[in-house]
Every structure is written in C-alpha cells, then in structure tokens.
C-alpha cells in the first residue's frame, strides 16, 4: 500500500449520459424519430443548436491498445442513417444537438432523446445536474405536447419489456497510469454485484427482441449483457466497456465508460452508484483487488443476482468457493477503506452509506424502500397487486412499472413517492433549479456553459474538451483538455467571468487564430 503518492481527484470528473424512452399516449404508432426531434428542439431557450463537433469523436478506439475496425452497431447505425435520409431533414436537424447553458449536451441519439450532464467534480453537483436533466426533459415534453397536440411521454428507464434496451452510461475521467488490466479485473465483480443498490427494478424477463411478463428482477439492464469485455454498446453488450475516448489528454487520462448500470430516479441510488464506483477506481491506483474477489462466471452471476427472488444473491467465486453479492460489496468497501482518504467529507459520506446499505440489504431490503429504486418499485407493485388481487403475470403491473419512470411530476409514480416525502433526497430543490440554468462551478463545463450564456452567437464548434469561436473572420479555439481543478481551470473561469466580449477572452488567454 502506497499512500505517499499524490492523490488525484476521485476521479477528476464524472458525468452521466441518459437515453430516455419516448411515447405518445394517444397513438402507439408514432414516428419516434420525428417526436424526438421536436422534443429536443423544445430546449431551444436553454441552449444553442448544431455546435457539436463530431469530427473529434472516435468510438472505435479500444482501451486494449488498438482501434476496432468496426463495431457491431455500425450496421445498425448505418441502417438508421439510411432510413433517416428519407426524411425531409438534414443530419444536423435530425440530431438537433444542443449545448445547454448549464454545460450539458442534449440531442436526439437516433430515436432516444439523450441528456448528458456536464462534467462534475462533486457528487452533489452530479446528482443536481442529473435531476436538472429530468426537469428540462419534463418541460420539453410539455412544450412538445402543446405544439404537437398530443401527449408526449418520456420515461427514464432502460427497456421496453420487449427486448429493446437503451442506456444510462457513466463516465469517470481517471489517470491513464492505472493499468487497464487492473481496472478490468478490479471492476468486474464490483459492477456485477453493484446492482443490489443501483438496480432500478423491472417486472419481466427479456432478451434481444423478446420479452415476457412476470417475475420481478432488480436490474433493468442485466438481461442484455452477453460479453465480459468489449467495445460495443448496442449489441452483445459487455460488462466492461473498452471505449477509449478520454476527451482529455490521452497520454495522461482515460475515461472509464460504464454501460452496465440502470437509469436511476432515486437521488440516493445515483449518488451511491457513482460514488462507490469512483471510490473503487481511486483505490485501484494503489493496488490490485485481491484474487478472492474474482467471480467464477461474471455473466451468469450478473443475471442470477438480478433474478434471485430470495435476495440472497449467492455467487460462485473463481478461487474460493461461494459468497454473496452483499458480502462481496462489503469486502470491496473494506478494501477501498485501506486506500482512500476517508477524511474527505464526500468520500466518507459515500463510504459510510455504502456500508450501511449493504448491512441493511443483508437484513432485508424493505428498509431501503426510501432509498433504492428497485426496492421502492417492488414495494409499490406489491401494494397494488394485493389491492387489485393481481397475479405477478398481470400486464397491468408492467404498466405500473413503466409509470414509475414517467417524467411527469403530476403523474409519475417515483415523483409521487418523492412529493409524499417518502424518498431520501440528496439535492435541495434550489440546487436543482440552479443546475437547470448554471454549470457546475468546479468543472471545465463552467467555461462551456458560460460561453453559451455570453457568446453563443460567436461559437462555431464545441466538444467536451474545446470551444471554438469566430472573431473578425478568424477562428480561435479554447482548449479545455487540461482544464482541471487545480491545473488550468481557475484561470479559465476567471477569464470567462470577466470577459464582456469574445475579444476579451482572445486577449487574456493569448489565443492565436487557427484559421479563417
């Protein structure tokens, strides 16, 4: 154990990208692409469109040290683009890619409205920004409903119960110095068992293009993972995703891209899911996880934990018999505690909640119905099933499951729990309202959000790690690839706060034109 090494951020930044389900209440036969385009455009007052620079994206770069020739999803994407070419819209119009004044990105990802939070350096900010996304999408659904003269419904879930899944991806910017193999072996059992507190719950079983009612499981996504490690995200999804696209200096940093998690409504679940993952990643800087953490069959364990009706969550270990998901999570927490600075208030709070949550899960999950989505949802379904005398195979229960995720505070069932004071909170309402309008303070997203607020007309391109604008016929670029707290970020924040015109930024940052 080496506690003398400098401790970087935990990680430097984290963020969430969430795809939402979309439907129209009065008509099941809608064109989801058309609806999604109109929905995203309803965010026009909160941001600027068509700035996103796709040329700086390369999802084929693999953390294992090569560039994949093709992804399995390339065919699907080509098919979508081919269909979309028949529409009376340009590529930019279909994408409707907005950069918002809070530093977030909001766009149409083929058929799903996708909200990417701005990068955050504290969990409090991340949870508030994630909730801000919900509020923005709820308002967009209302605006689109008025314009389209029907009721647009958005769902923050991950499946349509018929074998089609869409994701909530987590991103952790971490030091490149952590060997990739150490990350894979260290994160595998953690991510497989993390669902016991991160799962959003689902009624039914699925596989690709198939689904059936009946049987409650704790994860929305577990049915859709068939590979251990891989670069794909739409087909043959892997437990550990190898996309290597740091959006920062690739020699110093990597972005650990987690695709295995569920979309959470519960602020506590989001906070704990991201916080514990960040803690494990930080501990991996110092050491490998013990071999006794290795699972014999991670894919089998992933599905069996999700579907275990006994909530014992037993799993076979590769080297030492069997254990349970709760025991493994407890072991991970103890191991992390040896390496991570638990004097840090936010880390300590997460770590204590991690231990407490695991202990409560061992005693019986119902005590966590105010904190975990899957427990809250299962409790609602049980209450309703008993009242209506329904079997677990009744499709009405699946409809109630769906309603839990509805982005409408007047109708959605999660929001009913929240407004009834029955759910633990992380954010205050004022944190969420601020996050709708303002970027996180301690993040490069601050520069992005403030540029949208102050200089939107001058911007020509935006990416996570740069902003380009035009001034007097010349193009200038603000590089944010090293804009981290304690490095360059403070200077950029001060400059953007003082700047009245784009020329003030050019002068203060001593920017040179990069072209006409």
């Amino acid at each position: 154990m080496d506690k003398q090494r400098p401790i970087p951020a935990w990680p430097i930044y984290f963020g969430l990208e969430t795809e939402f389900g979309i439907a129209v209440r009065e008509n099941a036969e809608i064109d989801v692409v058309e609806e999604s385009i109109h929905l995203v455009r309803a965010a026009a007052q909160l941001g600027s469109p068509n700035l996103w620079d796709y040329t700086r994206e390369d999802p084929h770069r693999d953390a294992r040290g090569f560039r994949a020739k093709e992804l399995r999803q390339d065919g699907d994407e080509a098919n979508f683009f081919s269909q979309d070419r028949q529409r009376p819209y340009s590529f930019e119009e279909i994408k409707s890619d907005f950069v918002l004044r809070n530093g977030a990105r909001f766009y149409n990802d083929h058929t799903h409205p996708e909200y990417s939070t701005p990068e955050c350096s504290t969990l409090l900010e991340l949870v508030a920004q994630d909730k801000a996304g919900e509020r923005i999408l709820e308002e967009c659904a209302r605006a689109a409903s008025r314009k389209r003269n029907h009721t647009v419904c958005l769902y923050k879930n991950n499946s349509d119960f018929a074998g089609h899944s869409y994701g909530c991806h987590e991103n952790y910017l971490i030091p490149r110095m952590i060997p990739w193999d150490r990350i894979v072996e260290g994160m595998m059992a953690f991510l497989v068992t993390r669902q016991i507190f991160g799962g959003a719950g689902k009624l039914g079983w699925e596989k690709e293009d198939q689904g059936m009612v009946g049987g409650f499981q704790i994860s929305q996504r577990a049915d859709f993972f068939t590979e251990l490690v891989g670069i794909d995200t739409m087909n043959r999804r892997p437990l550990i995703n190898t996309r290597d696209e740091p959006h920062a200096n690739p020699k110093l940093y990597r972005r650990f891209h987690v695709i295995v998690g569920d979309s959470n409504l519960s602020e506590y679940a989001t906070w704990l899911k991201v916080g514990t993952t960040a803690l494990v990643l930080e501990a991996l800087q110092y050491d490998r996880v013990p071999r006794r953490f290795f699972l014999a069959d991670p894919l089998y364990a992933h599905r069996s934990i999700s579907r275990d009706q006994t909530n014992r969550w037993e799993v076979d270990l590769a080297h030492s018999g069997a254990t349970t998901a709760t025991e493994l999570q407890n072991d991970y927490a103890d191991w992390v505690g040896r390496y991570v600075d638990l004097d840090h208030p936010e880390k300590r709070a997460v770590w204590k909640s991690w231990k407490e949550t695991v202990e409560l899960l061992q005693k019986g999950p119902n005590a966590l119905r105010d904190r975990l989505d899957w427990v809250a949802k299962r409790s609602l379904l049980e209450t309703f099933r008993e009242e209506q005398n329904l079997s677990w195979n009744d499709p009405w229960l699946q409809s109630v499951d769906l309603e839990y995720h509805l982005m409408d505070r007047d109708r959605g069932l999660y929001y009913a729990l929240e407004s009834g004071g029955e759910i633990s909170r992380i954010s205050r309402e004022e944190d969420i309202y601020r996050a709708i309008q303002q970027p996180p303070n301690a993040s490069r997203a601050y520069v992005r959000g403030k540029c949208i607020q102050k200089f939107a007309r001058d911007l020509v391109n935006v990416q996570w790690d740069y902003i380009a604008f035009r001034w007097k016929g010349q193009t200038y670029r603000v590089e944010l690839s090293s804009a981290f707290p304690g490095v360059d970020l403070e200077r950029y924040c001060e400059v953007i706060d003082r700047a009245q015109l784009v020329s003030d930024m050019i002068e203060e940052l001593k920017l040179e034109p990069i072209g006409g």
Binding site: R25, H112, L380, S399, S424, I426
Partner: protein
C-alpha cells in the same frame, strides 16, 4: 500520476443538503401515505406497457 492533477476547487461547492453535510437526507415521513399513490396507480392504463415499443439504443 502527475502531481499537477491534485485538485483544489476554484469555487467551493455549496453546503450539503439542508446544511447537513454531503450525504442523504432521510424522508420526511415515517409512515407512507399509500392511498395517494394507490390513486395514481389505479389510473395507469393497464395496456400501456404492451403498446410501449422502443428502438434499441446504446
């Protein structure tokens, strides 16, 4: 890891929720009012999940 990556916040994040530190706040009530939520559940269209079909995403 380069030392430069050690972090200090340029602007301190706000206080924890309700000034209670950076952790969760317990619910406001001990006994859930299930009647209000049951009302919402009874209004759910029993067939909405059957009609809910999405394209595969990422």
């Amino acid at each position: 890891m380069p030392e430069q990556v050690q972090k200090t916040h340029p602007v301190r994040p706000g206080p924890g929720p309700g000034g209670e530190g950076p952790g969760p706040r317990a619910p406001r009530v001990d006994r859930p009012n299930t009647e209000e939520i049951l009302k919402r559940m009874r209004k759910v269209d029993p067939d909405q999940a059957k009609r809910y079909r999405q394209r595969t995403g990422e």
